[in-house]
Symmetry: C2
Subunit: 384 residues, 2 copies
C-alpha cells in the first residue's frame, strides 16, 4: 500500500517489513516518511555505545497539527509507524483517535527494522550493516530518540501520549522522566518492568536466536540469503505468540482439532490446527522482521525497570504531571493485572489524576489490538 508513496532521500533505508500483516480498513494509510535527526557532535550516546546517524521512519495522520491536538502513539514490540493500519479499530475518522480532530504521529522505534535506524542499517564507520556493532540501548534512549524526532518535525507538548505493551513501557518512562511533555498519558497492557516469568521466556527467545547456526554472531546480513537465524527467530516468535494469547482463547479457537489438508513437516509434529497456526505465525514473522532488531528490542524491554531507575516506583510516579489512564488486560501473563495496578497505586499515592481499568475480553495480551472496544470507549472519554 505504500506503493503510491513517493519515498524520499531515505529510500535506501532497509525495508524488511514487506510481509507484515496489514489490517486495511477505512483508515487513511498515509505514507511513511523519513527524517534524519540532528545529533550532538560525535553522535548520540546510548546505553551501550554511540550512534553517529539516526534516521526515524514515521507516519502522520488526520487533522493539521494546530499545536494542541497532537497524539503520539508508541507501537508495540514488533510494530511499526503505520498505526492506522495496525490499530484500525482505534485510529480513523470518528474513532477514538479521531482523524478529524487529532494529528496522530507514530514512529518506528530505535533499533527497529521498519525504517528507523537499527542493526540492519548501514554503519557509517564501515559502510556495511551494523550487525553485531549496533549498540544496545535502554528504553530511555528509545524515548529520547522519539523526543528528538518530535522536536525535529516541529511537535511541541503532546495532547496525549499513548502506548500498549512495549509502547506502554515507553509511555511510563517518558511521563516519569519528562513530565511536562504531555497533557495525558495512556498506558495499556504494560508495566514498570518485566515480571520474572516474562524474563525467563525472553531469555529463551534470545537464546534460540543467538544459538541458531545462521546467526553468525549477529553479522549475517552479507552471508547466505542475508536473512540470518530464521529458525531461531521463528521459534522465538512462537514462544512469544503463545504468551500473547490466553489459554482459553487458544482452547476455544483450536481445541484439539486437526488441520485439514495439512501435514506437519516436522518429525514428531502433529497435524493439530494449533501447531499449524503457530508455525504460520513464526514463518510470517520471519518474513517481516529482522532477528537483530528483535534481540535489541527485547533486550531493552528486559532491562527496563522504572523503579530501579528512580529509586522506587513511588519516586518515579511522584514526578508525573500528566493525567494518566492505566489499563490492564485480563489473562495477560506478560504484563499482569497486578503490575498495571502497581503503576496506578503509585500514581494515586502521589495524588495524581489517574484512573485504572481492567479490560476483559478473555483473549489475553493481544486483545488491545484485536478487541479494543472497551479501550476505545474509555480512552475516547479521556480524550474528550
Amino acid at each position: 500500500m505504500s506503493d503510491s508513496c513517493i519515498r524520499g532521500e531515505m529510500a535506501d533505508t532497509p525495508d524488511l517489513g514487506s510481509g507484515a500483516e496489514r489490517h486495511v480498513g477505512s483508515s487513511p494509510t498515509g505514507c511513511t516518511k523519513y527524517v534524519s535527526l540532528p545529533l550532538p557532535e560525535g553522535g548520540l550516546k546510548v546505553w551501550g555505545g554511540v550512534l553517529k546517524e539516526i534516521t526515524v521512519a514515521y507516519n502522520e495522520y488526520g487533522a493539521e497539527n494546530t499545536g494542541d491536538n497532537v497524539i503520539y502513539i508508541c507501537h508495540a514490540l514488533t510494530g511499526d509507524s503505520k498505526v492506522a493500519e495496525w490499530w484500525p479499530k482505534m485510529v480513523g475518522e470518528g474513532k477514538t483517535f479521531d482523524l478529524n480532530r487529532f494529528h496522530i504521529v507514530c514512529a518506528n522505534v530505535l533499533g527497529g527494522c521498519m525504517g528507523t535506524t537499527g542493526p540492519a542499517s548501514i554503519n557509517p564507520d564501515t559502510g556495511k550493516p551494523y550487525g553485531s556493532k549496533f549498540p544496545k540501548y535502554a528504553m530511555s534512549d528509545a524515548v529520547d530518540v522519539f523526543r528528538l524526532f518530535l522536536k525535529t518535525i516541529g511537535v511541541g507538548k503532546l495532547y496525549a501520549l499513548v502506548g500498549g505493551s512495549y509502547g506502554g513501557m515507553q509511555v511510563v518512562e517518558w511521563m516519569c522522566r519528562y513530565p511536562n511533555e504531555m497533557e495525558r498519558a495512556v498506558i495499556i497492557g504494560a508495566s514498570a518492568s518485566m515480571n520474572t516469568q516474562a524474563l525467563a521466556y525472553d531469555a529463551l527467545q534470545k537464546r534460540v536466536i543467538v544459538n541458531d547456526p545462521e546467526y553468525h554472531g549477529g553479522d549475517y546480513y552479507e552471508i547466505g540469503d542475508g536473512k540470518g537465524p530464521k529458525e531461531g527467530l521463528s521459534v522465538a516468535r512462537q514462544i512469544a505468540h503463545i504468551t500473547y494469547l490466553s489459554r482459553d482463547y487458544l482452547e476455544n479457537k483450536f481445541h484439539r482439532e486437526k488441520q485439514e489438508n495439512w501435514v506437519n513437516p516436522l518429525p514428531f509434529g502433529e497435524d493439530y490446527q494449533v501447531e499449524s497456526y503457530f508455525q504460520y505465525q513464526g514463518k510470517k514473522f520471519v518474513g517481516r522482521f529482522d532477528a537483530n532488531s528483535y534481540l535489541h528490542i527485547v533486550d531493552a524491554m528486559d532491562r527496563f525497570d522504572v523503579a530501579k531507575e528512580f529509586g522506587s516506583l513511588e519516586k518515579a510516579m511522584a514526578n508525573v504531571a500528566a493525567k494518566v489512564r492505566v489499563f490492564s488486560l485480563d489473562e495477560d501473563v506478560l504484563f499482569t493485572e497486578e503490575q498495571s495496578k502497581a503503576i496506578y497505586e503509585a500514581l494515586r499515592a502521589s495524588g495524581k489524576d489517574v484512573e485504572y481499568h481492567h479490560v476483559s475480553t478473555g483473549s489475553g495480551h493481544d486483545q488491545f489490538l484485536t478487541h479494543p472496544e472497551d479501550l476505545a470507549r474509555y480512552i475516547g472519554e479521556f480524550l474528550k
Copy 2:
C-alpha cells in the same frame, strides 16, 4: 546410590540417568532391577510399529507382596523407577505410601532412557541403537507394557494405582480400559488430554530438538559425542520447566535479582537469577536425559485423548470400577483445574466413588513433587 546394587544381565541397558537430581532422604532406595518381558510371537505391536524385545527397569520397596498390598506408581514425564528417591516426602516408612504396610512398585516408562527399552536401546534387527527406528507408541501401549511387566513379576490386582502428570494420564487410561485391575486410582495434576496451549508448547519443544543440527534425523548415538541435540533438548526442557512453575512462584523466588558471580555466556543474555536458574535446569536435564526419549514420551502424551478413544469422556469414565481420587494443582497451566474437574464430573455422572480436591500451594504443576503435604494427607486417608 545404585553403586551398591548388583546389576544383572541387563546391565548393558543404556543408563543416561547418572546426572539426575536425587532427593535422598530416609526412604529406602532399593536397587533398580530389570526384566525382559515375554512378548507375543513376532513382538509387541505398538501404535507406530513393532518391538521385538522389551526390557523394563523397575524398583520395588517396602513390605512383602502379600497379594493385597501392592501400589503401583506411574512416574512423570522425565521420571524414573526410583520413586522413593524422587518422591521422598510421600514414599517411606510411616509416610503416605507406607513401606511398613505397602509393597510399592514403579517402572520406567516405555521409550524412556532410565533402563526400560527406548530409542537408545539396541535394535535387535540391526545391533545398533534404534534411533529413528524406534516406533512411536500410544499411552495405551505404555500402559500395556506396565501391565505385562506386573504380570511378569507376579503382581495381580493393585491395591492402588497412582500417578501424577504424565503418570496421571496413564492412570486415567488404565482405569478406563482395564477397570478391574485396581481397587483405587489416584490421579494427580493430570487430564484426559493435553489442552491446546500445552500442545503448542509441546510442539515448540519437539521442534527445537528435531531442528537442532545435532539431531541427525534421530540417529545421533554414533555421531560425535553420541549425545545428540543438546542445545535443542536444553531449550525444550527450559520451555517445559517454565510451565511447571507458577508465575508467582518464580516472581517470589527470583524477582529481578542478579546472580552474583555469574556472567551469562549468551550474547544478549542478562545476569538475572532466573536466567541462571533455567540455564542450569536445561544443562542438568541434558546430562540425564536422551532427546529421542523426550520426543517419544511427549509425543505419546500429546496424542493421548481418552474422550476420543472411548467416544466421550463420559463413556470412558462409565467403565471405571475403582474408587478414584482426583487432584488438581493450583496455578497448573499444563493440567488445569477445569481439566481435572472434568474427569471428576464424568465419574460422578456415572455414580462412581470419586472425590476431587484442588490442592493449593501457589507453586504450580511441580508442587505435587515439591510440596505434597496436602496430597499426602488426602491420599493417606484414601489408602486407609
